[in-house]
């Protein structure tokens, strides 16, 4: 009994200590829901506080789960800013986001922001083919993602059909080549026994280990896996200009209309597009992403964004197109 009493006392004290941080008053810290990993973006929040004196509280989670949370919270959401991994998560709650000031929006090219200005891209990533440099030389790599359905690639390709970034790429293919060609490609990949993974990191790991030879992923997972396995025999390959396989997408941020700290929230988004924050992606960030503001060069070793000609598609349309994409993935047996 005594042990229980002691445990109860300890726990009670902890409970009191933990219960303090409930609601969000207007002079309290800024609340950011971040679908971007703490490992990658925590320094950005510190830089913001250093630059502005505004304290930030960050709720880290999966972008889509945070979008679902914001949707369930409705107008009582404690969040002021939603900082998400992909346009899809931002699009899912765009009805709850307010239009950003045009000075902020204009820092980024129109193809990297919401058509109605409710969210803006803050960093860019390209879709690439990651390949095992021990198994393949550069001239053996396909020029187009469409070639991956050829018999030569049977059993050698990894994809992540349940992952948002793969689905965005399929949407890009649908919008640029049409549903019929996309369906044929998906069926061809099925016939070629492409291996499925839950998300990008395990694909890159599988390529590194030789389990598969190539995989369709975002470019920056390469550097994350190299961090863990410095000698991994892996490299990224870009498809030819206009190929849906070289889609450029963004992580982005928006301000919630239910926020009672709109001004601070807007300052935060503005900060993400400041020279300091954009330079962070170049100099410090582990994940090797593209800055989006003009005049800032990408990290060494990356092909500059304006030399990558992805498919001619609007990121804003992706949210509305997603259900048709998933329908097609179901029809072709990639999703249940």
């Amino acid at each position: 009994m005594r042990t229980i009493a002691v445990a109860a006392a300890v726990v009670g004290a902890l409970a009191l200590a933990g219960c303090g941080g409930g609601g969000s008053g207007s002079d309290g810290p800024l609340t950011v829901y971040s679908g971007r990993e703490e490992e990658l973006v925590a320094p950005l929040f510190e830089k913001f506080t250093d630059a502005t004196g505004i304290d930030v509280e960050v709720r880290y989670g999966d972008s889509a789960e945070l979008a679902a949370t914001i949707a369930e919270e409705g107008s009582n959401s404690p969040a002021d800013v939603f900082f998400a991994q992909d346009p899809g998560s931002l699009g899912a709650v765009d009805a709850q986001l307010e239009a950003l000031p045009s000075e902020t929006l204009d820092r980024v090219s129109a193809r990297f922001r919401d058509a109605e200005g409710r969210w803006v891209g803050t960093s860019g990533r390209t879709r690439v083919l990651v390949y095992n440099t021990g198994q393949l030389s550069q001239d053996e790599l396909p020029a187009s993602v469409l070639q991956l359905t050829e018999p030569a690639w049977k059993n050698r390709v990894g994809i992540a059909p349940t992952n948002a970034s793969f689905q965005a790429f399929v949407t890009a293919m649908r919008l640029s080549l049409g549903d019929e060609k996309t369906e044929a490609w998906l069926e061809g990949m099925k016939a070629n026994d492409a291996k499925t993974y839950e998300k990008n990191t395990p694909i890159v790991e599988a390529v590194a280990s030789g389990e598969i030879d190539v995989g369709l992923v975002n470019h920056y997972y390469l550097s994350l896996v190299k961090e863990e396995q410095p000698d991994a025999p892996i490299a990224n390959h870009l498809f030819e200009a206009g190929d849906p396989g070289s889609l450029v997408s963004v992580a982005g941020a928006g301000v919630l209309s239910s926020s009672d700290q709109t001004e601070d929230a807007e300052r935060f988004v503005e900060f993400l597009l400041s020279e300091e924050a954009q330079q962070f992606y170049v100099d410090e960030a582990e994940e090797n992403e593209y800055p989006l503001v003009a005049g800032i060069d990408p990290p060494a070793g990356l092909v500059p964004l304006d030399e990558i000609h992805g498919p001619d598609v609007e990121l804003t349309a992706f949210g509305a197109e997603l259900s048709s994409t998933v329908e097609l993935l179901r029809k072709t047996g990639w999703l249940s």
């Binding site: 229980i4 349940t162 890159v204 389990e211």
Partner: protein
């Protein structure tokens, strides 16, 4: 049964009713979401792929339950009823996998058996069979759930009155037949309850089916939320999970022979004389070695390997003490709150059996097969709208744990109360003690081991809980589980190994407490 048909005190009935009503909040949320979707809900239900998901899910549950019984029951018998060398050590080793989160188990199995994993490197071969899919999922889930069956079977075997078995032996029945006709039927209710806990765990688990790429209902629910942001189909599929829970409950009820487990005759139960294994002892030791090696040494070894790799790659080793304190505090609170909440329901079930008790007890399981994400979002829905002061507080997180792990507390109390004859309580009442004094002086000490076991199970589960923790924790309240998640998100296994090992090390003493307590109880009974 002497007490059947007695009407429960109103206060008790109301209290139990209120507890169960709170447990049903996630169900209410699902009904609201399905109603929002209108006719679309029916389309999802009749979709061919939904049927396929149900079949996949049922196959997975069946596979894991069978595997858990095959692993747990023989091991439990060996360590409690035989002269197996080192049986105390084997008993502790067999329960320890309970502290390994299932997603960590899956990571470790893949790290070992996976292509270019440790095994393949060691053997130097080109290809090994693909460990993902159905069998991989069964293996990882068996690892993390068989201790439920083991613990309950072990307790039942230890408390079993040897008089019955001895009588059968005296009548010339062979040892094997006694095992099959007397011993196994006697522990069947405990094994059934353990299997129910296993089944509920499997139904709700997302980590394993995701890593092993097995299409179950839970995985489909996540896909609906995560890539489609569509809450209606997710809610429909979640209600299908509730339907499967109902079926599991019916099975469990059938397997549970609702007989008396307490002794009615004079005298106390003795401990059984251990069976002498003789030459069979070495195969028996080999069996225990296999179980421990596969389910404990292997995952721990893989974690240590990753830790070593991280150190040799010059990763900074930071021990997450704050996160550990958060995990311990929240889990201890959850254990206390959940057991306290389960007491009125357990007392109602055991002392005032009847339709009300039966309905409340069965309803308390209803939400238990729901994935943590669904439970979390349902609490987000209610708390953000109608109880904003508690939203994103530790209190709500603890409440979520209580909703998820209520049956564990109930099962602990259940086994405790089932062993206390109401006659002992009646005797106290007959001596002029009031009902509260009787409960305090007689029932509480007697069910203490059950309550402790229930609290320990809730504590261990809360330590491992991830999906609801991510969403409902107060801002900045990182736990060991969220640390592991954060590191694996970016593929930093060497970084994930530290919180994972710490989680295991901190959880293990709680298991030891349970062992020590039940051991002492058994000794004083003998």
């Amino acid at each position: 049964m002497a007490t059947a048909g007695r009407r429960p005190p109103l206060a008790l009935a109301l209290l139990a009713g209120a507890v169960v009503a709170l447990l049903l909040l996630p169900l209410a949320y699902l009904v609201i979401r399905v109603a929002d979707g209108g006719g679309r809900a029916l389309d999802v239900l009749w979709d061919r792929s939904t049927l396929q998901l149900v079949v996949n899910t049922v196959l997975l549950v069946a596979g894991v339950v069978v595997a858990a019984i095959v692993v747990a029951v023989p091991t439990a018998w060996l360590v409690t009823r035989t002269d197996l060398p080192g049986r105390r050590v084997w008993a502790v080793a067999a329960t320890l996998p309970l502290v390994i989160p299932s997603y960590v188990a899956a990571f470790c199995l893949l790290g070992f058996f996976g292509e270019r994993g440790l095994l393949q490197q060691a053997l130097g071969v080109d290809r090994l069979p693909d460990p993902t899919g159905y069998w991989g999922a069964v293996a990882a889930l068996t690892l993390s759930t068989y201790p439920y069956v083991f613990l309950l079977a072990q307790a039942a075997l230890r408390d079993l009155d040897p008089a019955l078995e001895e009588a059968a032996r005296g009548l010339g029945v062979s040892r094997l037949r006694v095992l099959a006709r007397v011993t196994l039927p006697a522990i069947r209710p405990s094994v059934a309850l353990g299997s129910l806990l296993v089944a509920l765990y499997v139904l709700s688990d997302f980590g394993v089916v995701s890593l092993m790429r097995y299409d179950s209902l839970t995985r489909a629910i996540y896909v609906q939320y995560k890539s489609l942001f569509d809450r209606t189909p997710a809610a429909v599929l979640a209600l299908v999970l509730v339907g499967l829970t109902a079926i599991a409950l019916v099975f469990e009820l059938r397997a549970r022979t609702r007989g008396r487990l307490w002794r009615t005759g004079p005298g106390a139960a003795r401990r059984a004389r251990p069976v002498e294994l003789g030459a069979a002892r070495w195969p028996a030791v080999a069996w225990c070695g296999l179980v421990t090696g596969l389910f404990l040494v292997l995952p721990a070894g893989v974690l240590l390997y990753w830790l070593g790799r991280g150190i040799s790659n010059d990763r900074r080793v930071v021990v997450p003490w704050d996160e550990a304190a958060h995990s311990l505090g929240a889990s201890a609170l959850a254990a206390l709150v959940t057991v306290a909440a389960a007491i009125p329901v357990a007392v109602l079930v055991h002392r005032y059996p009847g339709p009300l008790a039966r309905v409340l007890e069965r309803l308390s399981y209803a939400g238990n097969a729901l994935p943590g994400l669904v439970i979390a979002l349902s609490l987000v829905f209610f708390a953000a709208r109608y109880a904003s002061p508690v939203y994103q507080t530790l209190g709500l997180l603890v409440f979520a744990y209580a909703v998820r792990f209520f049956p564990l507390a109930l099962s602990g109390l259940d086994t405790g109360l089932a062993r206390v004859s109401p006659r002992v309580e009646e005797a106290a009442r007959g001596l002029g003690r009031g009902p509260l004094a009787t409960a305090w002086l007689v029932t509480v000490p007697l069910v203490r081991s059950g309550a402790l076991a229930g609290a320990a199970l809730v504590f261990l589960s809360a330590m491992k809980e991830l999906p609801a923790t991510i969403i409902l924790r107060p801002i900045g309240f990182d736990t060991l589980a969220t640390e592991i998640w954060g590191a694996t998100q970016v593929g930093a296994y060497s970084k994930a190994a530290i919180p994972a090992l710490l989680l295991i090390v901190l959880s293990a003493p709680v298991l030891w407490l349970v062992h020590r307590d039940s051991g002492r109880l058994a000794e004083s009974g003998g």
